[in-house]
């Protein structure tokens, strides 16, 4: 039974309505992109959840390694000068 035909895995991204970005909602198995799109429509938009669908082969997505999380993301944590709250504006000037 281990020789059974395996349909590739696709990641599904749906735009809930225009104006919003596509968001990862889950995955489907399908033989090709057209079938993956149809499967995503039938599986993930049954309750009117979508206005646009992207599918991508799971194998085509490159992901960052969690073991490199510290070097990847920690350096951004203390750059407070990128935040508006880091700067003082005299009260008399009002909102800025």
């Amino acid at each position: 039974m281990s020789d059974r035909a395996r349909l590739p895995l696709w990641e599904v991204f749906i735009r809930p309505r225009n104006g919003l970005a596509h968001r990862h909602v889950g995955s489907v198995h399908a033989s090709d992109a057209e079938m993956a799109l149809m499967a995503a429509r039938d599986v993930y938009t049954r309750r009117g959840e979508g206005r646009s669908i992207w599918v991508a082969p799971a194998s085509a997505i490159a992901a960052s390694d969690p073991d490199e999380k510290a070097e990847m993301f920690d350096p951004a944590d203390d750059k407070t000068y990128r935040q508006p709250t880091d700067y003082h504006v005299p009260e008399e000037v009002g909102d800025m």
């Binding site: 198995h29 399908a30 057209e34 149809m38 499967a39 039938d42 599986v43």
Partner: protein, 251 residues
């Protein structure tokens, strides 16, 4: 309101959708891929929804107090007016896809034409059905291509299904006497005019799938007069069993 001609016509349309929807619902738990369980369920639900709208209208046209369930559950096979194509058993997945292809290739131009009906209720049903059917046709053509041009086995099965169901396609374009009158009045599409669009869809789909269009020979007829094959009676006996065992109850 009582209009026997239009009533019969709408009832036949309702029966088409219900019988096909019921057939597809028989795939529940049996689909070849989990994703396809959901696809077939969606199509079945669209068709059952179309049937309900049409039965409700038919009941109003008849004016005898019969609701959607009285019409669906209390007529036997002789009273059912559906096309014989839609009652054909599911068979293997190829036969189900061939049935879907033949029916929806007609149904899409049919509903498109019906959106221009002078009958407001039918035009409203058509506006919804048109979109649903466009997707059903996409589903059927995509699968026809994959089965026709997949493996040797799938090609053989798909061609066999096309050949076997071909005899039920002539009826898609038959006009019963009453229907011709409704077409003349701008209420119903003229089925003869749907033929060209159907031929185009079928020829393109079969050719893309490396499948051969069968020659026309004997064609089934009689569905609109309640003359069916033997399978429909069994399907209805199962579908109607509770209503028939306990008549007059609410469920």
């Amino acid at each position: 309101m009582s209009d026997p001609t239009l009533f019969q016509y709408v009832l036949g349309l309702a029966d088409d959708q219900l019988v096909l929807g019921h057939r597809l619902s028989q795939w529940t738990g049996r689909a070849p891929i989990l994703e396809e369980e959901l696809a077939l369920g969606n199509i079945a639900l669209d068709l059952i929804g179309q049937a309900r709208g049409l039965y409700q209208y038919a009941g109003a046209l008849e004016g005898a107090g019969r609701d959607e369930d009285a019409l669906a559950y209390h007529r036997d096979a002789r009273g059912y007016l559906n096309l014989t194509l839609v009652e054909q058993p599911n068979g293997d997945f190829a036969q189900t896809i061939a049935r879907q292809l033949f029916y929806t290739a007609m149904a899409l131009p049919f509903w498109q034409a019906m959106t221009a009906s002078t009958d407001q209720r039918l035009a409203a049903v058509a506006a919804k059905a048109e979109k649903e059917t466009a997707y059903h046709l996409r589903h059927a053509t995509e699968w026809t291509a994959r089965l026709g041009d997949g493996t040797d086995e799938s090609h053989r099965r798909m061609q066999a299904a096309i050949n076997q169901l071909w005899a039920f396609t002539g009826e898609l374009f038959e006009m019963i006497a009453a229907e011709a009158g409704l077409a003349a009045a701008g209420i119903a599409p003229d089925r003869k005019t749907l033929r060209a669009a159907w031929d185009r869809t079928i020829d393109a789909t079969l050719s893309d799938a490396s499948l051969t269009r069968p020659d026309d020979s004997w064609m089934a007829e009689g569905g609109r007069d309640g003359l069916h094959g033997e399978d429909l009676g069994h399907m209805l006996a199962e579908m109607q069993s509770l209503q028939r065992m306990h008549p007059g109850l609410q469920w």
